[in-house]
Each structure stands twice: as structure tokens, then as C-alpha cells.
Amino acid sequence: MTSAPQTIAATKALTQVMRDDRGRLLAALVRALGTFQRAEDALQDASIQALKHWGRNGVPNSPQGWLLQVAKRKAIDVIRKETSAENTAKSIAVLQEDASAEGEIDTMQTIPDERLRLIFTCCHPAIEWKSRVALTLRTICGLTTKMIANAFLDTEKTMGQRISRAKSQIAAKGIPFVVPEVDQWDARLDTVLATHYLIFTTGYAREDDLGETLCSEAIYLTRLLKTLRADDPEIEGALALMLLTHARRNARIGADGTAVSPADQDTSKWDRRAVAEGQALLQTAMSRRKPGPFQIKGAISDCHMAEDGPDWAQIALLYQALWRYEPTPVVALNWAVVAAEMGQPAEALTKLEGLADALKGYQPFHAARAKVLAQLDQKPAARQAFDQAMAMADNEADRRFLALQKAKLE
């Protein structure tokens, strides 16, 4: 007989394990079973079993080990029913050996941690960028398909299809479940960090709870990466960049709903602990003497938060350094903005005009151009640019900020 309190205890225990250890269990299962779909199905089956068994017999000593063992047994049943290739026999043999080690249920200490493989597989460059983000959020963070769909402004159905297509692509393309080799490490890590940062910026652009969740998940992911691979300065740099930016989350919008630039923010609203952690990480990263784009971006973010206002001279040098890694129009734009801040608006405008073709669809370009034109007192052109930037702004706070700047022209 199952009593109500036992059922509640089982549900609570399962929820907790799935929140804390889903990624870890899934990674171990992908490793053992070979495909994402099998691993997910098996874990799902095991969870359903867990509710029944734990409700009746109590929560086992190692719920994670229990889930892993049952998931593998469920997978064997499924594979047996598939009347396909010869290697089915082989894979069953491997699995059985593993699953029939009776009485020796794994604990969190003995379950191998395969999450580094999982992280790199989800962010393989052969997968389209949007699917990398979706797979990462689904499999490692355990976000629901609905939440991921909301983040992308997609329907749940479209997102569900995207995720399942990505999973079958991993199998069909032959993307391996491995940690990249040394000669591939830097390039592959860059793709992973870019994906995590994209999750972060997507969240940062939103003012709602989902935005906060996405930022926290991006920080969680990069922190996890740092735990799994200590001593990598780019991982530390990316984490620092996110922490320093996130620290300003509560100060970036004023009481009247207008966006506030870092230099004008009420610094008492900054999360001091996050700032301190970000700065310490940057120090550690830079002491390793292996610079990279995320460390530089982290340092730029730090310079924006200097006590006496942004250190523009230092920021200009940092953009020059960043240009070597990322000679992109967006970096050129930010560099030009720094020139304007350092009292060279005419030079900045020349640089900006050169970027017009590449960046005409990029809202920050129009905002920056408007500001520089205002600085040069070219009022009609500035007004037009402000209007353009406001029309393209994706949130109300930025629109208000631009409207305020435009009003100052008069």
C-alpha cells in the first residue's frame, strides 16, 4: 500500500534529483546507450518507475544510482524489441554487464561524470546555433521545451520539433560524444562559450522572470564548465563577463523605466558579491598569460564599472586587442563609440559611416550614430537616427532612454 505521505516524499525526492542531477544522469546514459533519444526516453521511463517504487518502498539510499540502473534496464528492453542491426546484440551485452552488477548501485561518487562530453556535443559546430542553445537548455539545464520556445518567441511545437531534429542529427551525422582533442580545444571551447553567452544576452535583453532564468542558467553552465575543466582562462573570462554584467541587472533600468548606462547607474544597486567574484576571476584568468576574446570582453565590462567612471583610454586599448580576435563590424562599432567618448566624435562618425552597410539592421548601430551626431550638434540627422534606433529597439526601457536623449537635442 502506498500512503499519501510516502507518495509526497517520493515526488519531492524525484523532483530534487531531477533538478540537481538530471544533466549528470543524462550524460552518463548517453555515454552508455549511444544516443540522446534513447537516453532521454530511458530516464523518463525510470522516473515514472521511481514514483511508483519509491512511493511503496521508500526512497533508496542512492536515488541517482537507482534511476541510472532502472534506466539502463528499460533501455535494454527497448533495444531488444528493435529487430535491426547486429550491433544490437553487442550493445545489449555491454549494457547487461553494467546493469546486472547486482547489489552495487552507483552513488553520485561512482557515477562517472560525463557532462563535459554532453556540453561539447550539444554545442558541436555541425549543429545550427539556435539548436545548440535549445539542446543545451533542454538537456543540461533541464528547462522545459515551453520555456525555451518562449525565449525564442517560437511555439512549443516548433521548438519541440527543432530539439528532436537536433537529437536525430547528432546520431545521423555521426557527431561523437567526446571531449575535443587538444588541437581542437580552443575552437570548440569558443563555440561552447559563445552559446552560453548567447543564452545570457538573450536573458539580459528581457526584463521578466524568464530573462532572469536564462541569465542564471548561462552562469550556471559556465560555472559547471569551470568545475569540469579548471584552469582555462577563457572559461574564467566568460564567467567574469557574465557575472559583471549580471551584477548590474537591478541598476540598468531607472525608477521611471528608462535604461541607464553603467556610468550613470546607482551603484548601490550593483550586486557587490558578483562584482567581486567577477573581478577575482579576471585577475586569475589574466595571470595565466593566455589572453582571449572573453577575457578581453570581461575586462572591458570591468572598466565600465570603475569607481571614477569608465576608463575610456583603457577600454580603447582593450578593443584594439579584441579586434585581433574578432575583426567584426560589431567590434568596430564599439571601438568607434569609445573614440566618441574620448572626445573624437568626428573620427567616430567617419568610422560609423563606414559600417553603415554591414550594420544597418543592427539597432545599437543607429543608437550609437544618433549619439555621435548629437555630440557633433548635427540635429536633424541626429533626430532621424534616434527615430530609427527607437523604431528598432526591442524593449521599452531602451526606447525611453533614446527618447530622453533625443529630447535633449532641443
Binding site: 558541436h124 555541425a126 545521423a172 551525422k173 555521426g174 557527431i175 561523437p176 567526446v178 575535443p180 581542437q184
Partner: protein, 119 residues
């Protein structure tokens, strides 16, 4: 897994025959071939004659329509292929990156279905 490596080239971007750059490219092709053979991953491959030799056909309403020219009017055309057998995509991409045409065109890597009608 077996992969086909398809080489898409823009002939106008490739070094011209008779130049030192052309010789260097051929040298790199030779080196790539030797490496694939030495690693025992090469299962086949060929270069294709130019697109001016291409003939396309389709059947419309039961009638064979024959046309002069390649399938699609693009700038980069299929110029040749390799078939290799390796463990996974990462390995396949490593060999694909050895192909010198990657510097002038695009290399596409696709798994085969293992459905060889020639047996």
C-alpha cells in the same frame, strides 16, 4: 561510418593551370590522398570534368527532358568527391580540412546511407 566529401569549387577563384599556386594545390591534393591512404580511410574518389561537359535530365509527364548544363546555376559547382570510412564526424572533418579546395570553395561532408546498389 562512411562519409562522402563533396568538393564545391568556383573555377574563377582556383589558381590557374601552370602557375606555382596551381602546383602547390596539386601537391596538397597529393599529400591529402597519401594521408588518407596511409590511414586506411580512403574508399574511393574522383574529380569531375568541367561543368561545360554536364548534361542534366528530368522526366516531366513521362517524357525525358534533356538539358545542356549542370543542375543548378550557382557559382560553386561540384568538382569532385572522396568517400572515406572513419569513426565519426570529427574525424571526417579532419580529413576534409586537408583538401586544398577548402581555401577557394566549400567542402561538404555527408554520411552515406550504406546502400551501395553496385554491391
Amino acid at each position: 561510418m562512411k562519409y562522402m566529401i563533396l568538393i564545391y569549387n568556383d573555377a574563377t577563384k582556383e589558381p590557374a593551370f601552370g602557375t606555382p599556386e596551381f602546383d602547390a594545390m596539386m601537391g596538397d591534393y597529393f599529400a591529402a590522398n597519401e594521408k588518407m591512404k596511409a590511414d586506411d580511410v580512403l574508399r574511393g574518389g574522383e574529380g569531375l570534368q568541367g561543368i561545360d561537359t554536364a548534361t542534366s535530365l528530368r522526366i516531366t509527364g513521362g517524357k525525358v527532358e534533356t538539358m545542356d548544363g549542370p543542375f543548378a546555376e550557382t557559382r560553386e559547382y561540384l568538382g569532385g568527391y572522396y568517400v572515406i570510412e572513419v569513426d565519426d564526424l570529427d574525424k571526417a572533418l579532419e580529413y576534409a580540412a586537408l583538401i586544398p579546395s577548402a581555401k577557394f570553395g566549400t567542402i561538404e561532408v555527408r554520411p552515406l546511407m550504406n546502400f551501395d546498389p553496385a554491391g
